[in-house]
Amino acid sequence: MPSPKRITAMASKELFHILRDPRTLAIIILMPVLQLIIFGYAMNLEIRRVPLLIDDQARNASSERLINAFSHTPYFQIVPANQRRLEPEELFKERRAQATLCIPVDFGSASQVLLLKIDASDPNSAQLIQSYAQGIIASGFPASLDLRPFILYNPDLKSSFFFVPGLVAMILVMICALLTSISISREKELGTLEQILVSPVSAMEILLGKVLPYIFLGLADALLILGVGMLLFQVPFRGDFLVFLGFTFLYVLCSLCLGLLVSTLAKTQQAAMMMALGITLLPTLLLSGYLFPIPSMPWLLQKLTYIIPARYYLQIIRGIMLKGNSISELYQAGISLGLMSIVMLIVAVKRFKLRLS
């Protein structure tokens, strides 16, 4: 059994290291703020297979033609409608659809008005969804047809709504993975590990002791990025703060465990740094749904996103900040993060060598 005394001995020693090294501390604090400010650009990317729910109240030849036009493009994937009528808000919160198209009862005869509701918690996608839909209408239907977009959560399509949560996800995983992996490989490099190995300490105790202080540092970083983001870019925070803190804790834990795993592979600090950056930076940017919506990815990449922690955290943070999600809508993502942490911790403990070679 891991002894709490030895874990706290490791953890408090680690805390001394952190406090003694103002340069690292400065990087931890300044890097996120700088990145946040630099990332002020809107991004334009193509998307595919947007889950679209069509609420066809007319059920006539005209509406069928319209539905066909939407289902025959690669841009939309029609979500089958349930028996129970769902409000778009609910669908969006559960992420079952990203847009809904409402066809009124008298469509084709009296009315020419269509209502397109779009989930704009990812404003970039929302903009594209709007212009795709307008393109479909314009190319095959009379000009009198009136498509009225209705944009939820982010009516102004501000890109800051998009990049601030994404940046929290990216910076957190990067810094946390870096911190633990460097901290352990430094002990290998300096030979201090050799000294503490000849003691009753176990692999689990060493690793938990390393993770503990950085959980607080990671959480502090999350709050810092969030605070600056809200202050500088007026990003809203619609959900519950404690729920946010709870899920962010899981994400930080998961990222730190990822760092532990890296440290069992890397022998030097430099190798640890390259590896930690390599497996966090690009995958998070490209495969988490931050820049590219997951449904528009090829099959293999879609499957790959399941092992990217940021995939889950993006759902969580966008859900809480922009949609006001509660635990009931996010617990699955939370469980995924928790499970990933446990698996990575166990693998790291198994791989951690208590002997030199």
Partner: protein
């Protein structure tokens, strides 16, 4: 009782053999020295004894327990001081001691008492708040020794503790080791300095991964047979080349400012005078008692 027992130990780094057929018995309550030059295999042997190496040949028992099967119990009971300074340089003297005390589960009251006691012999108390990285080499070694002693182990294993330390600090370090021995602590220590062999009760001479001699320092010197001469010259290289060319001489060593010449039989003055005629740079000669270094060099052959 033996605190360390090594039988037919062999170890290789890949294909490179580091230890071959090493046998060692370290009795309780003594200072046991492992003496040998750099890369002789001292560190490998010490790491294996400290349960840090997964050896495949032979067996090691430390405090009566098998080093492979029972490493956790051994690790909790011995004090280890690695070759490189392995404490946290960004932690203070006090924080390092506290950390190792807590790691070994020493409760805070005992920890305080032990620290006071360790400060007494190490004289590190005035530096308690100083960062370990800012201590002098000698003080760093005393701190490392203190950290290895914080949980009052019955056996401490020290890998080249005096390496790179000034002569005064080396002497002080050895006197600390002697007082630890008085308290009944068994000490296994390695050193590349032959002159430190005299400080040990028993020694093993180790070279190229093999034990080449074992016993008390006096035994090893007594085992020397033959005569040893010290030759002086202001041009040692020249003299060395000249002596090398003499077919009858095989035991010839360059020693700092002199040449040591070993021989199985007594050499007459007339022989030296004859040499001096042929090679005027030979300035003087005398018969001497062999030192540990002479003994070691002879055993290496």
């Amino acid at each position: 009782m033996n605190v360390v027992l090594v039988k037919e130990l062999g170890f290789a780094y890949g294909l490179q053999a580091a230890l071959q057929n090493v046998n060692l018995e370290v009795p309780e309550g003594l200072i046991y020295g492992l003496i040998g030059p750099d890369s002789a295999g001292k560190t490998t042997l010490i790491r294996a004894i400290c349960t840090l190496l997964p050896y495949k040949q032979g067996m090691i028992e430390v405090l009566g327990r098998d080093a492979l099967k029972n490493s956790a119990a051994i690790r909790a009971q011995i004090g280890y001081m690695p070759q490189r300074f392995s404490l946290y340089k960004d932690l203070s003297v006090e924080q390092n001691l506290e950390f190792f005390g807590r790691l070994f589960g020493v409760n805070s009251q005992t920890r305080g008492q032990n620290m006071e006691k360790l400060y007494r012999f190490s004289h590190l108390k005035p530096f308690a708040k100083r960062l370990a990285g800012n201590l002098s080499g000698g003080m760093q070694q005393k701190l490392a020794l203190s950290c290895a002693l914080i949980h009052t182990p019955s056996l401490i294993v020290l890998d080249e503790p005096t390496f790179g330390v000034d002569p005064v600090s080396r002497m002080e370090f050895w006197s600390i080791l002697h007082s630890l021995k008085q308290e009944g602590i068994s000490i296994l220590v390695s050193t590349p300095y032959m002159d430190e062999a005299e400080q040990c009760d028993l020694i093993s001479l180790i070279d190229k991964g093999q034990i080449i001699g074992q016993g008390s320092p006096a035994d090893i010197l007594a085992a020397w047979s033959g005569w040893l001469y010290r030759l002086k010259s202001s041009d040692l290289q020249n003299l060395y080349r000249f002596l090398k060319a003499q077919s009858c001489l095989d035991d010839l060593q360059l020693f700092g400012g002199e040449i040591h010449l070993g021989s199985d039989s007594q050499l007459s003055d007339s022989l030296f005078i004859n040499w001096q005629r042929q090679c005027p740079c030979l300035e003087g000669w005398e018969q001497i008692q062999p030192s540990m270094e002479d003994a070691f060099l002879k055993m290496m052959k």
